[in-house]
């Protein structure tokens, strides 16, 4: 049997949007850290559901509702397998990573919060893994980072020894690209009896994740950064944690029995899924996972690393450009600043060439304050990107340099 070499053009052909234009130029999409594009398989799965499978779940006894319910349950099973083969009951469908973190803040931290309770976060944390803890009254204490954008593990150890309520840490930094050593952090945290929540929003599209092997207690991610639809995401938590947590929202589908005097709740995960959920979203997410798992992930990984290396070299040649985030272990995220050009102006000039990048603080204001920067520009890669994309990016950056002098 011969195996064909992996080919980026074959993969690109599965993404309809990549043949479109932006500002009259061929689309060069380098903002997959914000949201990934969707392959045909996902678009078709969502369309198919609305065209021939749409009904509410857990309601009707008729065939269409039964099929929708089965598809919803199958999506949960697909996600459970995707995270390393955990029980389906440990998968809670939410709106996205942000909702997942908020659910843990409201249901795991808030009911037992005492004055002075601290949640250990990191300097590189996204606002979604800072603000929810502050909103329930906890104090957020950051694990510092090194100049190249890696966590200071010795400091983490010391801070864990002070017994915070929780360690809430990002798996892959959306601003720096750093892959954090989650398994090691979880070992350290467990030694101090500190549970760990991992924000996996930027991780799951880049490499396989086995939540039990990592040793965390909570893992969150969003479908839309994993080639799936927006508006659906996942909270995984150990069953014993979920059982202890009260529901955060009340309504249909999350109950056991309701009377005017007293209501009892359904077991988890249903007790966290009040109301009609994003059924098509879950089906689209399952299709995205199926699509990703049908790919040669090792080849994709090698492709991404090659692009990261080539992109790093190309950007270093742009006069006055400084790369931000140069950890040894990172995903395809190239964050940078340019002397004398504000990141928004960089992004606008690139936009004129059909190149989509993100500019701003990337929802990491404390990180930017730590770096002494107002804003940065970020090109983030996905498997469908090519060396040609990076060459268009670099040419546009050289042109911006000429315009701004």
């Amino acid at each position: 049997m011969t195996t064909l070499a992996w080919d980026v053009e074959t993969l690109r052909a599965e993404f309809p949007i990549l043949t479109t234009t932006s500002r009259g130029k061929p689309l060069v999409y380098l903002d997959s850290g914000a949201t990934t594009q969707k392959p045909r398989a996902v678009i078709d799965a969502v369309t198919r559901f609305y065209e021939s499978g749409n009904a509410n779940i857990h309601r009707g006894v008729y065939e269409l509702s039964e099929q929708a319910t089965l598809a919803w349950d199958a999506a949960r099973h697909r996600v459970a397998q995707f995270l390393g083969g955990v029980p389906d009951e440990e998968i809670v469908f939410v709106r996205g990573t942000t909702s997942a973190v908020n659910l843990v803040a409201q249901s795991f931290i808030r009911p037992t919060l005492r004055v002075g309770d601290r949640v250990l976060v990191t300097t590189m944390e996204h606002h979604a893994n800072i603000v929810p803890w502050q909103m329930v009254g906890a104090t957020t204490v950051p694990v510092p980072i090194t100049p190249n954008g890696e966590l200071d593990l010795a400091a983490a150890e010391q801070l864990l020894a002070t017994r915070p309520r929780l360690l809430a840490v990002v798996h892959v930094s959306n601003a720096l690209g750093t892959i954090n050593p989650i398994a090691e952090l979880c070992r350290m945290a467990r030694a101090h009896g500190v549970p760990v929540l991992v924000d996996g929003a930027q991780a799951v599209s880049h490499f396989p994740v086995d939540v039990r092997a990592l040793g965390c207690d909570f893992y969150c991610f969003s479908s839309h950064k994993l080639f799936g639809p927006t508006g659906i995401g996942v909270l995984w938590a150990r069953a014993e944690q979920l059982q202890r947590m009260p529901p955060a929202e009340g309504g249909g589908d999350m109950i056991d029995r309701v009377t005017f005097e007293k209501t009892t709740y359904a077991p988890s995960p249903q007790k966290f899924e009040a109301g009609t959920p994003h059924i098509a979203g879950a089906i689209g997410l399952a299709a995205a996972i199926e699509w990703l798992e049908s790919q040669d992930r090792e080849a994709i990984h090698a492709h991404e690393l090659a692009l990261l290396e080539a992109g790093t070299a190309l950007l270093r040649e742009v006069p006055g450009l400084t790369l931000v985030g140069t950890a040894a272990d990172k995903v395809g995220i190239l964050t940078f600043t340019m002397d004398g050009i504000h990141p928004h102006d960089i992004a606008s000039l690139l936009d004129g060439e059909g190149v989509c990048i993100r500019a701003g603080h990337h929802c990491t204001q404390p990180l930017h304050a730590h770096l002494g920067l107002e804003a940065t520009a970020r090109a983030s890669l996905a498997p469908y990107n090519t060396l040609a994309d990076l060459e268009v990016l670099t040419a546009a950056l050289h042109s911006a340099r000429r315009i701004f002098g």
Binding site: H342, D345, A359, H361, I403, F404, G405
Partner: protein
């Protein structure tokens, strides 16, 4: 339609490099700050208005993109010597120009260079930020 690159290469880059009235006003009578939390642009605008309601000096400080800086720079030159009422008219004219609702007969002079930005709604707020600060400064102390 002007491309962004063309827009930049004219007045915007020039004012970004050498902004006019980029200073503080010791004798300011009106002051306001504009912030765009989405992108972090910050501008603080100071005006000196005399008893006759004439803006005799205007200055700004802040940090942000070239568009917001150039807009603030041009704003200060445009309103200096104008009455408060005329400055408010300029606000309406400028805001209308960028948001696709031009005010008939508005005399905008140099400010017209921002007309092309109307095609880029995500950047319009950068240009209007200092103008909103001016309006706020005038409103708060009228």
């Amino acid at each position: 339609m002007a491309t962004l690159s063309e827009l930049y290469q004219g007045v915007i880059i020039e004012h970004d490099r050498s902004p006019r009235n980029f200073r503080t006003l010791a004798a300011a009578s009106h002051r306001a700050e504009g912030r765009n939390p989405l992108c972090g642009d910050e501008v603080s605008l100071e005006l000196q208005v005399n008893e006759a309601g004439q803006i005799i000096d205007a200055a700004f400080q802040g940090r942000g993109c070239a568009v917001s800086k150039a807009s603030a720079s041009l704003l200060t030159t445009a309103i200096k010597g104008k009455t408060v009422a005329e400055a408010r008219e300029l606000f309406d004219g400028f805001h209308g120009l960028l948001t696709g609702h031009p005010v008939p007969g508005a005399q905008l002079g140099k400010l017209e260079v921002f007309a092309g930005l109307a095609a880029y709604p995500m950047r319009v707020k950068c240009a209007t930020l200092p103008w909103h600060a001016m309006k706020q400064a005038l409103d708060e102390t009228k």
